[in-house]
Symmetry: C2
Subunit: 216 residues, 2 copies
């Protein structure tokens, strides 16, 4: 029987983007169901979606009826169900390094510059706020890369660290953070952007990306 | 040869607390090196510590010379090095549920109410800010527990979800969040507080806990 996989996603959501990359890396086909985080105050707050995801966030992945939330947990599940290619190194030290880098973004940067937090910070302050946390986080990320990086964040294989990095770099651009300070991040991001799975998962080629933002 | 394990910790840091619980659950002995996050603007910003942890945060775990950061990554490393008792279920669905609950706190609540963020929010607004995010997060956590909880967050074994929950409940009390709204959280937290490993890891029995806060 064919596995039925549905991803509730928003084109610009970093966390949805991560899951799209993981699915593309594994060659897993899925149905994409856009949840518009802006329209009518946000479709993630609709009664039906809240039943699926009490956090009222994207992504949610439904894998043969099993409802999964939180991008990091979803990616570990995908890795467990289809181990090849692995999303984490087998060596425990390299695995811990990849997870630390992924978490630096997942818990150290992204939560502080997501849509709901910026709404709460307020229109007049949100740019300075987002820039501060992105700068702080990526400065630490760049330093850590000096000990771990090869072609990608940890050696020469793609890991969860790379998957978290690409949407974060997009957000850094969006909030006018100067990436010239971070040569290793820039080099790795450039390598990743040429990878087919990352191209397929890009925010700006998703079905729900508005026409004026769409990559030509 | 004896493994040499050093934990850089602060008694009240949620993320240090998590690692202390994980070490205690595994019965791993370690040397505790307090990093005072308040004194002289914060010892985590000292030059020597920054070299160890470019994120200028606690915890850092040094395991036989290997430097590990980010509590989630550190706990996975501990679990890899000493698998018994496991910190995550073997069943992939239960594992994803435990990770989703842990991440709901790790990326959804804690980053928004940590020391540095509250300093940035400002003295006059920080209480309302912290309450808002803790309430929002724990409301979703309670709903998710309805599908997963047994004696603990996911069934009857302790997982990373429980380890993340206990310090978050402490913070909820600290910021005057009414936990009466969350009967499952309260029941599980009460069960965990009686567990020897959780008692040993408690903020208020650590060597660096000030005398006036210390548990008698």
């Amino acid at each position: 029987m064919q596995t039925e996989i549905v991803l509730y996603t928003y084109f610009r959501s970093s966390c949805s983007w991560r899951v799209r990359i993981a699915l593309a890396l594994k060659g897993i086909e899925y149905e994409s169901r856009p949840v518009n985080l802006i329209k009518d105050g946000g479709e993630q707050h609709a009664a039906e979606y809240k039943t699926l995801n009490p956090q009222e966030q994207v992504p949610t992945l439904v894998w043969d009826g099993i409802v999964l939330t939180q991008s990091m947990a979803i990616m570990v599940y995908i890795d467990d169900m289809k181990p090849d290619p692995p999303l984490l190194p087998i060596d425990p030290v390299k695995k811990a390094q990849a997870l630390a880098l992924a978490e630096l973004i997942n818990s150290g940067i992204q939560p502080l510059q997501n849509l709901h937090v910026l709404q709460k910070v307020g229109e007049d302050k949100k740019m300075e706020w987002a820039q501060f946390w992105i700068n702080k986080g990526l400065t630490a990320f760049e330093k850590m890369l000096k000990d771990t990086a090869g072609k990608y964040c940890v050696g020469d294989s793609i890991t969860l660290a790379d998957i978290c990095l690409v949407p974060q770099v997009y957000n850094a651009h969006r909030f006018n953070v100067d990436l010239g300070q971070f040569p290793l991040i820039q080099k790795i991001a450039a390598a990743l952007e040429n990878h087919e799975a990352f191209k397929a998962a890009d925010a700006l080629v998703q079905p729900d990306c508005p026409e004026d933002l769409r990559k030509k």
